[in-house]
Amino acid sequence: MSKPQPIQTNSTYSMGNYQSLGLSSSPKRPELSQEFKKNLNEKTKSKSKAKTNSKTKPKTRSKKRGKKNSQTDEDLGPSKEIDVENPDPVDEMKTIDDVLKHHISIAYFEAYLIQSQSQENILFYQAVKKFQSIRDPEQMREEADKIISIYMAENGKYEINIDSPTKRKAINTFQDGKVTKNIFDESLDHVIHLMKTDKFISFTKSPEYKELSKDWYRIKNSMMPIGPETPRNGIFQEFYSHEKEYSLNLSTFIDRICKPLSQDNGAIMSQEDFKKLFFNIQEIFNFSIDFLTDLDEKKRNWNYKECVGDLFLKFKHNLKTLYVPYFNNFKIALQTFNEKIIHNKSALNFLRKHITKDIDIESMLNLPNLQLDAYKEFIDKMIHASSEFHPDIQYLEEAKKFITRTQSRCLKTTSTSSQA
């Protein structure tokens, strides 16, 4: 879908001493609006492509062997010894390497790590795996740059906890322009080791792991999509970032354009024109925050079973009564824009005086028109990524029908309509 240019917002907040010591200066759990700012410039979520057969770790074997049958490697993690006494339904799901083989099991593990605030580890794992699958050198460089700024740079959003020589080595190699496929291998080994020794064992005792055990046979029997397809989680995260950006853009637009224009008692434009131009954008913005709040809730509780289709059904009424009229008014809005702003010196001057950065008002006005398409695209992707057994499927199907119906209510005549 075509996106208007996001408005630049300061993406970090910092405060003297805190920064050098690695403390964040935000006093509380970041509120929604802060989260916006933090994440605005990031497409953090990479589509995880855990390859089914990739061995993530080189097995360490001492070269000398000589004893009878006792040479099998002992792996970290819960051992088979215990299973004899307490048979486990997921016998083969024992090591972190197993979990890292499937995007579904990764999603469960990720859900657990989010709760214990250590998701940067698994996100880094997924980002590196994605990086390793890239062939094009230019794209590789770009992706490596992203990985370094998000996961390795001091105060990066998801800075990983590894020792400085390893970190420096990767960064220096990158800065020397020697981006190779294995530039992050050593760091990844450290991160996997960290997850393995600290968090994996407690994961195996968590409710998420229990859920995963139940699903494991289905995963194994390929009743669910396994392989390079984008998992639901990745699609959801992407959608979430999109929605966040959308709300933030709206909020900036309203604060910096709409509100100033409505001031001065209609000196710049009459109330009538104002209404023609911006229509119900304020209500749309309010709704987008409600919607995002619910999404945020889902994001925090995300696990494999989480549904999202229900959200669209819950907000059916808002979607219909806000977006359709806005869309249908758009032609008038553009006319008003041309007459009252573009060809109106005082309005233009006013805008120039009050708005420091250039904002493309036309494309900002068009933002809400792109939403229905974005929803449809998201729902389609989710349907594609979900197995027919997933509880979300029925919601998604119904939501898809609803969105299609709603779109058909939009007048075909409006020209600047969106394209998916």
């Binding site: 001493n17 805190y18 000398k64 906890n161």
Partner: protein
């Protein structure tokens, strides 16, 4: 007469009842009040060890799975230590016994992160550790990064290498696993629910701390005093004790914590005692003008920290410990308990 006696008796009874009731109310209060302990400190200071001690003191110790995990971690760590010491041997230009040279080569070829092992490699570790050159390398360990607990485990290598090795509580307490993220564990300490928050200590982990500052009852800040000559894991240039002090200053004075009582736990005093005889404290803290002995240096460090966290709204309690020593930590937590109790009762107007 009889009537008077009766009245007196009645009065006493009422007074006694009131007393009992008040006691009940107190204990009820104590039980209802959720206590939240926040354990903070720089990386590798011993925060998670405290949590393990609480597991021993207030829960039923370590589960079979835990033990299995630690067994594997301890054994892989041994191999890692041997490899680091072998690198030390090379660096210091020491000579291994001829019969060990081949094995040493195998070890040096291992990847940096070792996460599995064979029984044979454990036996080989044992053999190498007995080489005088390795002991020499160990003596000079300050010149390269070797975990604090390496000495403990290498001293116990015979037991750890034995086929039926099961880690003791002491082994588990000594076993270092780097923490990432946040761990919240609930304990029942003398019928009082405690929520204990343990965190990772490296810089990248600290941005997660702030989410847990609310509703803190007591802050426990752990300082590894033996670190005065070591550099940070995460930047290799900053002195660890300097960092710990600076971190304490910013954390303890954070608006959410500045009025909370605080325990500073000076940890790893055993290792500190050894080190102070070898490494001059003055080399790392130039302001220190006293003589280089345990008491004076500890006093100096204490003054620095207490000064950094002092304000009128809180009390600071100082303890010294070796966090792997269960008795010492029991003593610390007994003290913590009475502080908390006092706190609650004061808040409710009983004192």
């Amino acid at each position: 007469m009889g009537n008077k006696n009766l009245k007196k008796k009645r009065k006493e009874e009422i007074a006694r009842n009131e007393l009992v009731e008040q006691e009940l109310k107190k204990s009820d209060l104590v039980q209802k009040q959720q206590v939240k302990l926040l354990i903070l400190g720089a990386g590798d200071s011993g925060k998670s060890t405290l949590l393990k001690q609480m597991q021993i003191l207030y829960k039923d110790g370590f589960s079979k799975e835990d033990k299995q995990l630690y067994r594997n971690v301890i054994r892989t760590n041994i191999i890692t230590y041997i490899k680091i010491l072998l690198k030390g041997v090379q660096m210091l230009d020491l000579k291994l016994h001829k019969s060990n040279e081949k094995i040493a080569e195998d070890f040096l070829n291992l990847p940096d992160i070792i996460d599995s092992f064979t029984p044979n490699s454990i036996l080989a570790s044992k053999q190498l550790w007995n080489d005088p050159a390795m002991k020499m390398s160990f003596e000079k360990r300050a010149q390269f990064q070797l975990a604090d607990s390496a000495g403990y485990f290498l001293d116990n290598i015979d037991r750890i290498a034995s086929e039926n090795y099961k880690p003791s509580d002491q082994d588990i307490l000594n076993c270092r696993i780097s923490t990432t993220g946040v761990k919240v564990v609930e304990f029942l300490v003398n019928n009082q629910p405690w929520k204990v928050v343990d965190v990772g200590g490296q810089r990248s982990e600290r941005k997660k701390w702030i989410h847990h500052f609310d509703d803190t009852t007591l802050l426990i800040y752990v300082v590894a005093v033996n670190e005065y000559d070591q550099k940070l894991f995460e930047d290799n240039t900053t002195n660890r004790l300097h960092e710990s002090l600076k971190l304490f200053e910013t954390t303890a004075n954070n608006q959410f914590l500045s009025n909370k009582n605080c325990v500073i736990l000076f940890n790893k005093t055993d290792l500190f005692k050894d080190k102070i005889q070898k490494v001059n404290f003055n080399k790392c803290f130039e302001d220190f003008k006293g003589s280089n002995n345990y008491e004076e240096v500890i006093k100096f460090i204490k003054t620095l920290f207490v000064k950094a966290g002092k304000n009128t709204k809180r009390s600071i309690f100082v303890h010294y410990s070796c966090a792997t020593n269960t008795n010492e930590i029991r003593f610390v937590f007994d003290a913590v308990q009475s502080t908390i109790l006092e706190n609650i009762l004061k808040e409710q107007g009983f004192m």
